[in-house]
C-alpha cells in the first residue's frame, strides 16, 4: 500500500475541489472494495477524499413517484428499508444475496455501483492485466477463468461485474443521478457500466470527478412476481457464478411485462430487452422461459473453465422465471 493523505469533506463542491490538488485522488465512502485494492497495490491513490458526510444519506420519494436511494445509504439500510422492501422487494432480495452482513453494513449504494470488476488476475499485480495496466495483456484468457465472463467480453478483458444489487437495479430500470464539474446529469442504468471493448480499464461511463448522488427507482409495480436467484460455490459470501434478476407483471397466467437481467456473466449487469419482449404476451411456462434464456445467451462464449456458465445461466433463468411467476414455490 502506498502513502496517501486523507481529507473529509462536507459538500460536493469541496470534494470536487480536492481533485485538482492531487496526482491520483480517489473518493472513499464505505471503502469495502477500495481498501482491498489498495492493500493489493491495485489502486494506489495519493489522496483519499472521504465523502461519507455529504448529504446523500436518505431514502425518499423521487419526483417521478418512484423511490430515490441516497448514494451514501448503506446496502444494509437499503435492503431493510420498509419502502424498498414493500415497493422493490427484488432489490432487497438482491442486496441480501451479496457479500456478508459486515460488508453490507459498511458498503454504500454509490460504492456498490463503483466497485471494480472481479478477476483473479486484476487483483494480482504479479500478472499482466489490461484493466490494471492497459496493453499488458489478458492473463485470464488462456488462464484460469472459472468465475469470469461469457457475454460481452473482448479480446482484452473477460472480467465480470460482481454486484448483486446492480443486477436488480438494471432489471428495475433505475437511473443514476450524478454531479460533477459540469453540473448534474442523469444516467440510465444500462449506460452506467460499460463493456470492456478496447478500454477495459474503464468500468463505467463517469467522467473524472463525477460523484454519484442517488439512484432513482421508477414507479413501477414488480412486487408480486419477482425472483433474484444467485448461484454460487457456497451458500453465502461468494460471488455469483450466475445470478438472475427476474420480474414479471402477470395477467391471467400470461406475462404482461418482463424484466430479465443476469449477473456474474459480463463486465456489466446483462439485461436483454429482446428476451423481455419475447416473454411479454406469452404464457408463463417452461417453453417460453427456455426461449427467453436462449435469446439472452445468444453470442455467449466460454473460455474453458467458465464454459459451464452458459448452460448454468440458461437453467438459472428458467428457474428464476418459474419461481417469479409463482409456478413453483420459492426456495
Amino acid at each position: 500500500m502506498n502513502k496517501f493523505t486523507f481529507v473529509r469533506v462536507d459538500s460536493p463542491d469541496a470534494a470536487i475541489a480536492e481533485l485538482d490538488e492531487h496526482y491520483s485522488p480517489k473518493f472513499i465512502a464505505g471503502g469495502t472494495n477500495l481498501l482491498d485494492l489498495m492493500k493489493e497495490n491495485v489502486e494506489c491513490p495519493d489522496h483519499l477524499i472521504d465523502i461519507n458526510h455529504l448529504a446523500f444519506n436518505k431514502i425518499e420519494d423521487s419526483p417521478g413517484g418512484g423511490l430515490r436511494l441516497g448514494a451514501l445509504v448503506t446496502n444494509a439500510d437499503t435492503a431493510w428499508n420498509q419502502e424498498v422492501e414493500k415497493r422493490y422487494p427484488l432489490l432487497s432480495q438482491a442486496i441480501l444475496a451479496g457479500a456478508s452482513p459486515q460488508l453490507r453494513n459498511m458498503a454504500t449504494n454509490g460504492g456498490n455501483l463503483m466497485q471494480r470488476t472481479r478477476c483473479y488476475y486484476f487483483y494480482d499485480t504479479a500478472t499482466p492485466c489490461n484493466k490494471r495496466e492497459p496493453g499488458s495483456g489478458c492473463s485470464a484468457i488462456g488462464g484460469y477463468n472459472r468465475i469470469l465472463g461469457i457475454l460481452g467480453t473482448s479480446e482484452q478483458c473477460i472480467a465480470t461485474h460482481p454486484s448483486d444489487m446492480c443486477v436488480a437495479l438494471a432489471a428495475l430500470g433505475a437511473t443514476v443521478n450524478v454531479t460533477g464539474k459540469n453540473g448534474n446529469r442523469i444516467i440510465p442504468f444500462a449506460d452506467f457500466h460499460r463493456l470492456p471493448g478496447d478500454r477495459p480499464d474503464l468500468d463505467n461511463t463517469l467522467d473524472a470527478g463525477d460523484i454519484v448522488t442517488s439512484i432513482d427507482l421508477p414507479n413501477e409495480d414488480f412486487t408480486s412476481y419477482y425472483k433474484y436467484l444467485k448461484i454460487r460455490d457456497r451458500a453465502s459470501y461468494a460471488f455469483a457464478l450466475v445470478s438472475v434478476a427476474a420480474a414479471l407483471k402477470m395477467e391471467d397466467g400470461k406475462i404482461k411485462e418482463a424484466r430479465l437481467a443476469l449477473g456474474g456473466v459480463a463486465h456489466k449487469p446483462w439485461r436483454s430487452n429482446e428476451a423481455e419482449v419475447l416473454l411479454a404476451g406469452n404464457t408463463a411456462n417452461k417453453d417460453s422461459f427456455e426461449k427467453a434464456a436462449d435469446v439472452i445467451l445468444q453470442g455467449a462464449k466460454g473460455y474453458g473453465d467458465n464454459t459451464f456458465k452458459i448452460e448454468l445461466a440458461k437453467r438459472a433463468i428458467v428457474r428464476a422465471l418459474t419461481e417469479a411467476a409463482g409456478l413453483e414455490e420459492q426456495a
Binding site: 500500500m1 502513502k3 488476475y121 484460469y144 460455490d233 457456497r234 451458500a235 453465502s236 461468494a238 428457474r319
Partner: protein, 759 residues
C-alpha cells in the same frame, strides 16, 4: 512386585471409560474467557507500540528463474526505513542442509533457505525483507524495491501435466507395504470390478491467524521470540542451528495459536527473517505475513490415485490396487501415507500398492489435517462404494462383509477397533435402514436427496514427552510441558488430568505450555498430544503423589506412618485413608508441617514400545451424510451428518465434540469447496485470498451429530485415549461423494465437487 502393589498401581490408573470428577466431563475451556475477551495474546500481539521494528516480506512474482538485479535505493531513501535484506546482503549462515532440517522436514533434500540465493524456485518465494520503524512504512517501502529477473519459461506446475516425471521417493516416511498375493490376477478373476482415477488438487491450511514472529532483542544478545508454531522446541532448535545460537540465547514462546492444522509444524520463513533482522540490527523486530503470503509455503499436495478393486460374486473383496502419484517440490521429497490405508481397511488377500512423486516448481507440500489419510481414504471409500453398487449390496453391508479383523499390512491385531460399533450406532442414529437402495429415486421439490456412508481412520500414536509439576504450600499445582494448544483444548484437558490424578480442584491447577524453557514435548500434531502429553502429565502427577505421601509419612505423629501409598486416596487436596476417610492431611498441611515451600518433580513418559509394537493402533469412524442436490442447477447442500467415532477414552466430551465438528466441517469443505487454483502459465496460485479460496460459511453447515463409541484400549497409552485432531475430517469427502451418487446417479471422483460437475 507384590500382588498388593500391583493392585495398588492399577487402582491408581484411570479405569478405562470410567468418568471421574473431571475426566469424561463436558468441561468448558479454561482459556475460553481469555480468548473471547482478547486477553489471549498471539505471536503478532506482543510488544505492540514499544518501538519495535517491522519487517515486510517481498514475494517473488515469478515462479522460476534468477534475480539479476536489485535496486533498494528508493526504499532506503524513505525516512524510517532501516534496511532491506536480500540475497546480496544476508550474512553467511549455517552451511549444511541438516542445520535447516526441522523436526517435520522430509528426510533428505535441501530445505529452502530464504534470501540465500538469487535462484527463484517457486512463485511467491520470499526474496527480500524491508525493515522499517512502522509496519505501514515497511509495506510501502516494499513497493519501492525493484527487482529484475531472468525468467525460466519452462515450468512444471500441474500434477496431471507432469505424470511422466513420477518416480519412487528415495526415503518414504511411511514405507509402502510389499504386495501381498497377486492383485492383478485376482482382479481379472473378480466377478465385479472398479477401475477409476481419483484426483484432488492443492489445498492450503489458511488458519485465521497469519504467520508471525515477534523477536525481542534483550540483554546479552538474548532473543525472546514469540512465534506462531505448533512446536516451540522445533522453532528454537531450527533458529539455534541456522544462526549458531546457544540454548540460552533463543527462547521461543507461543502461548496461543489462531489455528495451525499442520501449517505450524515447520518453522515458516517469517521466523527466520525476523531473527535474521533482529541479530543484524540488534533491535527487536516483528514480521507478519499477509493473507496472500499464507499461500506461499506448504500445502496439501495434489494427488492422483488410480484404484482398481475386485470382488467375488458374493461380495468379498478379492483385489485392491492403489497406485498413487502426488507432488513434491524440486528440493525436498515430501511423502505422506496415502495408499497404505487401502491395504489395511478391509480384509483382502491380494493387494498391490504404489506411491510415486512428481517434483514440481512449487514449495514443498506440508502436513495438513490428517495428511495422506484424508486423501487416501477419500479415494478408497468412493471406490468401495462403487464396488458395492456393482455387486448390488448395500454399501454399509458391503463394508461389514469385508471388515478387517486384523491389520493385514502389518500382520498384527488391532489394539482396539470398535469400527463395527461405529457403523451400527451411526446407522441407527442416521436412520440408514430407511435408505432407498435405488440411486436418484428420492425427490423433494427441485432437490434430489442422497445418503452416503464412508469410513474414517487415523493413527493412535504416543510419543515420548516430559512434564514437570510443582505443588506449593498453598495447595496450588503448576504443571508444565513445552507442548502447544493450537485451539484443540490442550490447556483444558491437561488441567483436567492433573486435577483428577492428584485429587485437586481444577481451579487450583495451572497448566503451562508453549515455552521452550518448559520440559520437552514433541510437535503438536499427528493427533498424539492427548496420548503423549496427557500420559506425561499423569505420570508427573503420580510421581507428585508419591513424593507428597513420602513427606506425609515422615511427619511427626503422621496418620500414615505405617500405611502404604496404595492404602490412601488423593482427593479434595487431601491424602486420606481409604479405610477411614476421616483420617486425612491436606496437601497444604503436609507441606507446611514439613516446612517445605513447594514440592517439585520432573518425569519422562515413554511409550511402552515393546507392548505397543505387538499391535496396530488406530482410531476409526463411520460417517453418514445426507445431501440435497438441485436437479437442474447442480448445487449441493450437506443437510445432515452423523459421525460415529471410536477413539478410546474421551477426556472432555465438549472439546472432543468440537474437534469432530471442526473436522466434519473441514471434510465438507474438502468435498465441496476447497481448491487452490493454479495458473499453469505463471506457476502461481491465483485465488490467494479468503474471498475466493472457499471454506464453508455458516450457511453451508447444517446438522452435525457426533457419537463417541465406547472403546476400551489399555495398549495405546496409560490413559487409553487415541486423539481426535484428525479423525473428524477423514471419510467425510467420500461420504459426500457417495451421497451425491445416491442422490443423482452421478459418480464424482474429483475434489472439490463443484456444481459444474453435476450439470
Amino acid at each position: 512386585m507384590s500382588l498388593l502393589q500391583k493392585v495398588g498401581v492399577s487402582a491408581e490408573n484411570l479405569e478405562p471409560q470410567e468418568t471421574g470428577k473431571y475426566i469424561g466431563k463436558p468441561i468448558s475451556r479454561v482459556d475460553g474467557r481469555a480468548k473471547v475477551t482478547g486477553n489471549a495474546k498471539y505471536a503478532a500481539e506482543f510488544n505492540v507500540g514499544t518501538g519495535i521494528l517491522h519487517g515486510f516480506v517481498i514475494s517473488s512474482p515469478i515462479a522460476k528463474g534468477k534475480i539479476t538485479a536489485v535496486n533498494i535505493r528508493q526504499a532506503l531513501s524513505q525516512k524510517g526505513v532501516l534496511t532491506v535484506f536480500t540475497h546480496l546482503n544476508v550474512p553467511g549462515l549455517a552451511w549444511f542442509d541438516r542445520s535447516y532440517r526441522d523436526q517435520d522436514a522430509p528426510p533428505g533434500g535441501s530445505p529452502f533457505r530464504p534470501l540465500q540465493s538469487d535462484e527463484i524456485l517457486f512463485s511467491q518465494q520470499p526474496i527480500a525483507l524491508v525493515v522499517a520503524e512502522t509496519f505501514e512504512l515497511a509495506r510501502y517501502a516494499a513497493t519501492l524495491v525493484h527487482f529484475e529477473y531472468e525468467v525460466k519459461e519452462e515450468l512444471s506446475v500441474g500434477l496431471e501435466q507432469n505424470l511422466d516425471k513420477a518416480k519412487k521417493p528415495e526415503k518414504h516416511r511411511f514405507p509402502v507395504p510389499k504386495p501381498r498375493g497377486d492383485a492383478e490376477k485376482a482382479l481379472k478373476e473378480s466377478a465385479f470390478t472398479v477401475e477409476e482415477d481419483y484426483y484432488h488438487g492443492y489445498e492450503h491450511h489458511n488458519p485465521m491467524e497469519m504467520f508471525a514472529s515477534t523477536v525481542i532483542y534483550g540483554d546479552d544478545d538474548r532473543l525472546t521470540i514469540y512465534d506462531k508454531t505448533q512446536g516451540v522446541l522445533n522453532s528454537q532448535s531450527y533458529i539455534k542451528s541456522v544462526f549458531g545460537l546457544s540454548d540460552d540465547k533463543a527462547r521461543v514462546i507461543s502461548p496461543f495459536m489462531g489455528g495451525g492444522f499442520g501449517s505450524g509444524l515447520r518453522p515458516q520463513y517469517q521466523l527466520y527473517m525476523a531473527v535474521l533482522a533482529s541479530l543484524e540490527l540488534k533491535r527487536s523486530v516483528k514480521v507478519v505475513l499477509t493473507r496472500q503470503q499464507m499461500f506461499s509455503f506448504g500445502h496439501r499436495p495434489a494427488t492422483l490415485q488410480k484404484i482398481a478393486l475386485g470382488a467375488s460374486a458374493d461380495g468379498k473383496l478379492q483385489a485392491i490396487i492403489n497406485k498413487c502419484v502426488s507432488e513434491t517440490s524440486t528440493f525436498e521429497e515430501y511423502t505422506e501415507n496415502i495408499v497404505n490405508w487401502s491395504g489395511q481397511m478391509y480384509q483382502c488377500d491380494n493387494v498391490l500398492l504404489d506411491h510415486q512423486l512428481v517434483p514440481l516448481d512449487l514449495y514443498t507440500p506440508l502436513d495438513m489435517r490428517a495428511p495422506g489419510g484424508v486423501t487416501g481414504m477419500y479415494a478408497l471409500e468412493i471406490a468401495i462404494d462403487e464396488l458395492a453398487v456393482k455387486a448390488g449390496i448395500d454399501p454399509l453391508e458391503f463394508r461389514l462383509m469385508n471388515y478387517a479383523e486384523k491389520d493385514q499390512n502389518l500382520d498384527k491385531p488391532f489394539s482396539s477397533k470398535e469400527l463395527r460399533e461405529c457403523y451400527r450406532q451411526g446407522a441407527e442414529r442416521f436412520g440408514w435402514s430407511k435408505r432407498n437402495p435405488q440411486a436418484g429415486a428420492t425427490v423433494e421439490g427441485n432437490n434430489l436427496v442422497g445418503w452416503g456412508v464412508a469410513t474414517g481412520c487415523w493413527e493412535a500414536n504416543q510419543m515420548p514427552s516430559r512434564a514437570k509439576a510443582m505443588l506449593s504450600a498453598d495447595g496450588k499445582l503448576t504443571v508444565g510441558c513445552a507442548t502447544a494448544d493450537i485451539g484443540t483444548g490442550t490447556y483444558t484437558v491437561m488441567t483436567q488430568i492433573a486435577a483428577e490424578v492428584l485429587g485437586v480442584a481444577m481451579e487450583d491447577v495451572l497448566f503451562k505450555l508453549g515455552d521452550s524453557v518448559l520440559p520437552m514435548s514433541p510437535l503438536q500434531g499427528g493427533s498424539w498430544t492427548m496420548a503423549t502429553v496427557g500420559s506425561a502429565v499423569k505420570l508427573v502427577c503420580d510421581d507428585m503423589k508419591t513424593k507428597l505421601f513420602k513427606l506425609a509419612k515422615q511427619l511427626e505423629n503422621s496418620p500414615f506412618s505405617n500405611i502404604k501409598e496404595e492404602d490412601v486416596i488423593f482427593s479434595d487436596s487431601r491424602i486420606q485413608l481409604k479405610a477411614d476417610t476421616q483420617k486425612y492431611l491436606t496437601f497444604s498441611e503436609v507441606l507446611q508441617k514439613s516446612e517445605v515451600n513447594y514440592l517439585e518433580t520432573d518425569t519422562t513418559s515413554l511409550p511402552n514400545m515393546l507392548e505397543q509394537n505387538k499391535y496396530s493402533r488406530f482410531t476409526h469412524s463411520a460417517v453418514f451424510v445426507e445431501v440435497k442436490v438441485d436437479k437442474d442447477l447442480g448445487t449441493v447442500h450437506v443437510t445432515r451428518v452423523v459421525d460415529a467415532v471410536a477413539a478410546g477414552r474421551i477426556i472432555n466430551t465438549k472439546t472432543a465434540r468440537s474437534q469432530i465438528l471442526g473436522g466434519v466441517v473441514w471434510g465438507i469443505s474438502m468435498a465441496l469447496h476447497e481448491d487452490t487454483v493454479m495458473d499453469n502459465n505463471f506457476g502461481r496460485f491465483m485465488n490467494h485470498n479468503l474471498a475466493e479460496y472457499h471454506v464453508p460459511v455458516n450457511a453451508d453447515i447444517k446438522d452435525i451429530d457426533v457419537i463417541f463409541v465406547e472403546e476400551h484400549d489399555d495398549i495405546v497409552n496409560p490413559l487409553g485415549v487415541k486423539g481426535l485432531g484428525e479423525i473428524g475430517i477423514v471419510g467425510v469427502a467420500a461420504a459426500v461423494s457417495n451421497a451425491i451418487y445416491h442422490a443423482t446417479g452421478k459418480r464424482l471422483r474429483n475434489l472439490p465437487m463443484q456444481l459444474d460437475q453435476l450439470l
